[in-house]
Symmetry: D2
Subunit: 345 residues, 4 copies
């Protein structure tokens, strides 16, 4: 069955698999000190244009968010996120499990507005009772967001400025970072992110790897004893090479960017075709996730032929669903999807 | 350079890699509901002779210990372990991070003695102040232990009996389980473990997989909402197929047992050759880790040619080091190791 | 200086102090097993008309909320609260520190609306991704609320019905319970609360005691090993008599209710006088906390003569402030307050 | 019935109660900012000869240990304690509940030996795997210890020196500090403790107060945002005056020291009388707790007439029990105790 359910339905890009095969019997030390991990770190620092960036490899997104946020915060602090932020909704309370509150601001197209952030921070310090409240200690944003939207360079700079004014770090969840960087509509580059954020991760799981996220702390910004912190959170991989080899391949010859661009090309094609069919979009998205409104009856017909993500009810007769492309999406499958939707409408 | 440093210096057994390649583009649902994970669970249940076992796949050992132990314990409880238990020493406080104390009993050859356990438990309940103390809520054992030793069937049965008498679960850390099951000196089988333990895991990372541990709760014994619990601990893998495919291969045609047996054969060969050289063993080990006492001067000469694990000082002039074999150890490398040791002594 | 800043500006009701003096040298066992604590529990059970209620004495409100909520929830669960709930705002993240998320519903006059609760719960279970979310595991309400408002018997019953339908406990924060029970406008009695809630506490600190809150779990509903749980949270008082003696006195001859009624009488007098002055109320409050809107200029003049609580800005020139009465408020001080406000307006 | 069960069987010293009565209706601000708390802090700073000491008032011992230790440690750190340390045994895992391991060294007369501490610390850093272990981040000692023993000034200085060499704070649990300072056999003063420790507390609960412990961080050494940290741990008392008034009284005219001296006088009298009866001491104790070995048959006769603390079995026919004096012990009761023991032997 055709699947546009998400961007992690296949395994890994063949070049990553081949690299795993090629290096399989070379003996390496464990825990991320293998030569492939070290080389991948060099490549990532270069791509970020930050030779002093600290880089770590973790396994998945929720883990990375919890490990990084808990590393950035002190005990009396919480993390600010949009109400729709992944850490606030779909991580089973992983942040709270580490003892920290998620402090929410209303989402604007899935994003945090710099003025809302400033209002929260200035309001906090103006409140005479704030010593009995959770201190805002870091800001979490996702880019692309959970709705596929993107921060502009100006928006990101404003957020950074507010964070800097209050002395708190800005952390960017880049689970789908490639799809953001290769969007037709972005003016944000990887070096921009490295320059403006205090921590971020380059998502591998959703962008061509079997697993793995590359956490970057620009300017030697890693929290103290971060290796021990990772171990304590059960996030240390004995065979660190598994992730190192993959990121080494992803950041060789621009593979990460190329395969991300492919997913965007496929999403744009899908978007144009859906628009041509008169399908209504729930929200505009310049990245690989497209949120559309379809009749429930049509969805009922569609669901035996295509896997998609059910998002939420829209009204009595219609629902919001998500179609996602990825590095692995084939153009003929996009064509087939459009054909099936047309038939079901 | 020759390496006998540990049992995770290579990637994966070729059949696992091949299975990853073969299935790479088959679209699958995420989070462990893919067909390979489901099939691997069926195979593991069969190997355990427990058709009702709940099986989950996690990434690594420390993560598994923390997730399982925190799942088994209620808030007022701690876990009993040998003082040398991995959870007590080398997991950076991952158990305490989940809020639970590790209650130690003295190690006997790396193991917990059933009578020591009984004494701890009966002493606890006899103590009139025990409501101000941490309740022993589960027992953690490793098999093989951190010293390569093994529980006999009688010892395991005695531990189970004590646990049952006090109504607490017995959890077995099987990071190297294959090497225990295939030891020349064991009388414990996988079905025995499934019958006697309330939770255990079958280690993949150290026995032929790139990553992955299969957690088994026999007799439908998984803690409530264990999926959410896994997610909360950041231990959920989006592409669950990565681990599912590997365990599917490991439990096809007895591969897990065959490759474990190979490691044991190599260890036994090494053991005999070392004994013939007059090398003194720190502790007897019937599994793939061999702990020997060597002159520091000899070790100094050896270290540029062979990677081994430094364990601890033995006396003024000698140290304890570990040589580990694995599924990947080549017989000619064992021969080379012995030759080099002989030359350095 | 006159103070209407809060309801904990004085020490204890003289009968409580006298009881402490009278019993001072009687030797007692510790940790709440003293005869005064036991007698106070009997009296509280009687006042609740629940002879099977489990009763525990803790020190303060935030502590009680954290200890009780953490006791009611399992690991994967969070607590539902109004967005204005004390646990969500003014407890420095004490709930999250125990590892649990506070799941908010919009406040309606400081309260949770039963339909909003039902919508949250039904929406949660209807969401196909809910196993990746925090389970709503208990409901927290305050009565009176942080805004002085009260649940009617009908509202409380509806909340109870929703909780029961979903099998989760209803917990009532009664830090100011006396002032709710003695409001001129309530139809809710202490036995009603014991009947409708699964856990609640009878506030002592704000209602006549030096410290102390009486936690009640009706119908033998205390979480398992609650004593150890209390100890683990650092909430066990060695000289439990300190709180026991006070609650014994508070629940002798209806003292708790009488002194609460006095605070209500004083608040109603203040309310009528303020209304007569044309002062605008921010929110209607039938209890001891009155929230009024005053000109900033008037407040500036007032603040050297009266202590009040600044609440929040209202508009450019006015602010919301709180005047609270208590068991200790003297009628002449209410008169003096009104006179001063009149002079400053 | 006569009680020598512990040092918290009575209420408070009459001067403390009187001070509570005298100040009862003076309106004060909450949360420890009242004038009595501020004055008590000044007195404590003077008694410590450290005008820059940060002082906070908490309620009880376990709470204080957890709040302070969690405040001193960073996430990857644990606290070193003697195996018999209160935090390791009788606090229901309160330290682990905050996420930190208790790292034990063998007790020597209830104390930590500076050489054992040095060995643990140097061994830790010498271990090549220490980044996978819990970092020793603070040292916890009790003075007097759980066995009534005391550190000499030389021992305390040595511990301080080791801590300083490794850059970790030394924390002294002074639940019974007065009884240590007034021992006939000590050469340690309160200013010595303030000089040598980085944090300590002056116990009130067991030395004349209804409740309360005064936490001292010499040399402005309080952890950042310690007020919020206290609130988050549920340890903030709304009517901070309750503890402030008591410590103000305790540190007026040397009351704390005088009443402690009385307890020591009573203990020494008891000790001499027991020795004269030929009673064997389990351990020598120069403070208010005396541990003796008695025949079980004698204890059986005694227990209907005297409350004591059962400690542990000694051999088949004898047990260790504790008799504790306190500020409240009457000399005639000591005489009566001795008489009863003589009769029962």
């Amino acid at each position: 069955m055709l699947s546009f359910e998400n961007d992690y339905s296949e395994g890994a890009h063949p070049r990553l698999l081949q690299a795993l095969v090629d290096t399989n019997f070379v003996q390496q030390v464990g825990y991320g000190e293998d030569e492939y991990s070290l080389r991948a770190k060099v490549r990532i620092r270069a791509a970020c244009q930050d030779p002093e960036a600290d880089v770590f490899f973790l396994v998945g997104g929720t883990q990375t968010n919890a490990v990084v946020i808990d590393g950035l915060l002190s005990g009396t602090e919480g993390v600010v996120a949009a109400s729709t932020g992944h850490v606030n909704v779909h991580e089973a309370g992983a942040i709270e499990y580490t003892g920290h509150k998620v402090l929410t601001v209303p989402e604007k197209d899935g994003k945090i507005d710099a003025e809302d952030l400033r209002a929260l921070l200035s309001g906090f310090y103006a409140d005479p009772t704030h010593s009995h409240m959770v201190y805002p200690g870091a800001v979490y944003i996702s880019h692309p967001t959970e709705y596929g939207s993107l921060y502009s360079l100006a928006e990101l700079t404003q957020l950074r400025d507010v964070c800097r004014a209050y002395g708190i770090p800005l952390f960017l969840d880049g689970a789908r970072l490639g799809y953001g960087l290769e969007s037709y509509e972005t003016d944000v580059t990887l070096p921009d992110i490295a320059r403006l954020c205090d921590a971020f991760y380059i998502g591998g799981t959703k962008v061509g790897a079997l697993c793995g996220e590359a956490v970057v702390f620009p300017r030697h910004g890693a929290p103290k004893r971060f290796i021990t912190h990772i171990k304590q959170h059960g996030a240390m991989v004995a065979k660190g090479r598994l992730i190192g080899v993959q990121f080494d391949a992803l950041f060789t010859d621009g593979l990460y960017f190329d395969i991300s661009r492919h997913a965007i090309d496929m999403a744009e094609k899908m978007k144009r075709a859906l628009a041509a069919l008169g399908v209504e979009f729930f929200r505009p998205s310049p990245t690989n996730q497209q949120f559309v409104i379809l009749e429930n009856a049509a969805l009922n017909r569609l669901k035996s032929q295509v896997r998609y993500s059910y998002w939420q009810p829209f009204d009595e007769t219609r629902s919001v669903v998500r179609f996602a492309t990825s590095w692995a999406t084939r153009e003929e499958d996009v064509d087939a999807l459009i054909k099936k939707i047309r038939e079901c409408m």
